[in-house]
């Protein structure tokens, strides 16, 4: 049968049911990731092709336990299923994805989905794990009782995909163009009735595991131990940050050497004059000084993705809930805040899993305080320039310790700010904390690598699109106007940037910033790491030779350097973050609040650190 249009198949299921792995397996690389109009919920769609050549459009919807949506993510699932989205007609078929080892909750969801009147296929994903545990599922009985075709898949091994697609395609043929209408919000009585029905289904079709998974229980008794579990969590975080520095170093050296060679090569080819300055000092040095941090960002994201994929993240939220709760944050805020260590933008976007608006706003406002990877370039530069490279107690690097304390300062201040926000803006308790602790599983290398590549590419393209033009601008601002003939001192002092820096210097003098530092802050508004490239441009244009860290160690006092670090812990220097906050909160009020409070904290912290360091004689 030929079809003039492509039928849409919506994947719906509980969180952690392997739905996204199934989506990846069905669509391969043919995916499109965008946002739903008006909201920032990720919209993932792709095309799957049947052996017959027929194509199906696959939509991956956010995981949910019920169509009674409680968060923006779940609202998208509800609206997409019910055809309430402006830019997305109701799907032709629903594929209800179940973790075959955990059927209880998803059967109730499947019964709820059936009330929409849309054709449905019920898929038992991860059937291999269920088989290994000795769970026996009578597919025919389940299909009969559920009133929908049932099939089994192993997404990670691409097992059962063709059968699933063919079932979905034939279901799409059956009923057509009947808009979903049967669903309404179920009452407690109806939910209870659906549970009873789901339990009947279980009893009729599923034999409980003869070899239940004991790994998760055994791991949890260690990882959720009140003392041991917390120690392991802290150890993991510490290992993560040490790894970011030690593992990334060889790759960073390679990138640095590569860009240095490129600069030398370009200088040899190009004619003397401003053109060479632009290419070598502006473009090549600028891009190199940002890309050199790619290895660290990749390692950080690798840790976060592995923790997420293995099922550990939910345990971290469990262990942290009370501590976060004490500061007025939700346990679920742990994941957005941890993501913010990589970048506040995905962190803020992932706050959509928090149901309550107040909890969500608190998390959004504190997320940029988490030490994002864009600060790492600044931190590593200043630390390597001013903190001696020696060990403390024979094992810990002093530079690593300073880095760790910067992270600790950020975390403590975020908890404090969250606490104050709760006291100042709104009182009262926080949102419900109720979440599934998924079974542990080995992270799927394909999924992790796919995600990692997406994150790395996002950083590279950002470096290209936002940071590169700014660096050229900084180079131009710091090169023109040229100094008058016979002028004293570095040329940059006479440039537009130098004049702006001099003009702003009195404001920053109490916190120990020289005009060069002030100049670097200006382009650093666009993105924090640009400050490194800007410092490179300023000092290179200033006519000095040698590595930037070497220059800084001669030009900056320790007190100024520490004040600069303290500034960077808090400063709201990221236009992308402010833009995403505006988008998530629907106005300029909260970005303005965020900008104001962070700027105030940054100035106060830098002032305290500078004055205290001077008093201690760190000059």
């Amino acid at each position: 049968m030929t079809s003039s249009r492509i039928d849409t198949v919506a994947l719906v299921g509980n969180p952690n049911c392997g739905k996204t792995a199934l989506f990846n397996a069905l669509t391969g690389g043919r995916q499109k990731v965008a946002n739903y109009a008006g909201v920032t919920v990720e919209r993932k769609e792709g095309i799957a092709t049947l052996p017959s050549g027929r194509r199906l459009r696959i939509l991956d919807l956010p995981g949910t336990y019920s169509l009674r949506a409680r968060s923006p993510d779940e609202a998208i699932t509800r609206d997409a299923v019910l055809g309430r989205l402006a830019d997305e007609p109701a799907p032709d078929v629903i594929v209800c994805v179940a973790d075959a080892t955990n059927l209880g909750l998803v059967l109730r969801l499947a019964l709820e989905l059936k009330t929409t009147g849309l054709p449905m296929v019920f898929v038992l994903n991860m059937i291999d794990i269920a088989e290994r545990q000795g769970i026996d599922i009578d597919v025919e009985a389940l299909s009969r009782e559920l009133g929908a075709p049932v099939t089994a898949t192993v997404a990670t091994r691409k097992r059962g995909l063709e059968t699933l697609l063919e079932l979905a395609a034939s279901q799409a043929e059956g009923m057509r163009a009947s808009p979903p209408s049967g669903w309404r919000e179920p009452s407690a009585t109806e939910v209870r009735a659906a549970h009873r029905q789901a339990r009947e289904l279980m009893r009729a079709a599923v034999r409980p595991p003869s070899r239940p998974d004991t790994l998760t229980g055994r791991l949890d008794s260690v990882l959720l131990h009140p003392v041991g579990g917390v120690a392991i969590l802290l150890g993991l975080l510490f290992l993560m940050f040490q790894a970011v520095f030690t593992w990334a170093a060889p790759a960073q050296d390679l990138i640095e050497a590569g860009f240095a060679a490129l600069g030398v090569g370009a200088a040899a080819v190009l004619p003397d004059g401003w053109m060479t300055g632009l290419v070598v000092d502006g473009l090549i040095a600028g891009v190199g000084s940002v890309l050199v941090f790619l290895p660290q960002i990749v390692i950080l994201f690798l840790f976060i993705l592995l923790l997420e994929d293995s099922g550990y993240m939910a345990r971290a939220a469990f262990l942290m809930d009370r501590i976060m709760g004490g500061a007025g944050l939700h346990g679920r805020a742990f994941i957005p805040l941890l993501s913010s260590f990589a970048c506040a933008v995905p962190g803020i976007m992932s706050t959509r899993v928090i149901d309550s608006r107040k909890d969500r706003l608190t998390t959004i406002l504190t997320a940029p305080l988490m030490t994002c990877s864009a600060r790492i370039p600044v931190y590593t530069l200043i630390i390597s320039a001013l903190i001696p490279n020696r060990t403390v107690g024979g094992v810990l690097s002093l530079q690593g310790l300073v880095m760790f304390s910067l992270y600790a300062a950020a975390i403590l201040s975020a908890l404090l700010v969250a606490f104050l926000i709760r006291k100042v803006f709104w009182r009262g308790g926080s949102e419900l904390f109720m979440m599934q602790l998924p079974d542990y599983k080995r992270p799927e290398p394909g999924n992790v690598l796919r995600n990692l590549a997406q994150k790395a590419w996002a950083f590279i393209s950002r470096a290209g699109r936002i940071i590169l033009p700014l660096m050229v601008l900084v180079w131009a601002l710091s090169s023109w106007p040229a100094p008058p003939v016979g002028a004293q001192g570095p040329a940059i002092a006479y440039s537009a940037a130098g004049r702006l820096g001099h003009w702003l210097e009195p404001i920053f003098a109490p916190i120990g910033f020289s005009w060069e530092m002030v100049v670097a802050l200006i382009p650093g508004m666009a993105a924090r790491e640009v400050a490194v490239a800007a410092l490179g441009a300023i000092y290179a244009v200033g006519g000095e030779e040698g590595a930037l860290a070497g220059i800084l160690s001669r030009q900056w006092t320790l007190a100024s350097g520490l004040a600069f670090l303290a500034w960077y812990v808090f400063a709201p220097q990221c236009i992308a973050t402010l833009a995403v906050v505006r988008r998530e909160t629907g106005g300029w009020l909260w970005p303005a609040v965020m900008f104001g409070y962070m700027l105030g904290l940054a100035y106060a912290a830098a002032f305290l650190v500078f004055q205290a360091s001077r008093a201690l004689g760190f000059v």
Binding site: Y65, R70, G104, R108, A188, R192, H195, G217, F318
Partner: protein, 100 residues
């Protein structure tokens, strides 16, 4: 069949919000608690969420772990599914004890 428990208070129904790791029971009642009037979270809403996570009359619950500070939140197994929740919400779940 439940055996006689040496702990006398365990013979009576108990509240999940006051239970400890190792406690086992079958849910006899998911209560509609008091409205807490915070963030628009009504008692009916809390009840619905408990139900959606599988806390429903007849479900078998085992308390597995408790959080590091004040024993809160708790991790339980409800009909084979591991769920973490705070004691405040678990106060609405009443269990009949069951011997291990």
């Amino acid at each position: 069949m439940p055996k006689a428990d040496p702990d006398p208070e365990r013979a009576d129904p108990f509240i999940l919000g006051e239970a400890h790791p190792g406690d086992l029971g079958v849910i006899i009642k998911v209560r509609t608690g008091d409205d807490r009037h915070r963030d628009g979270l009504t008692a009916a809403e809390i009840e619905l969420r408990l139900l959606e996570f599988g806390f429903v009359e007849g479900a078998r619950v085992e308390v597995l772990h408790e959080g590091p500070i004040g024993g809160d939140p708790i991790a339980v197994r409800v009909d084979g599914i591991r769920i973490a929740l705070r004691r405040a919400e678990a106060m609405n779940v009443v269990l009949a004890p069951e011997a291990a």
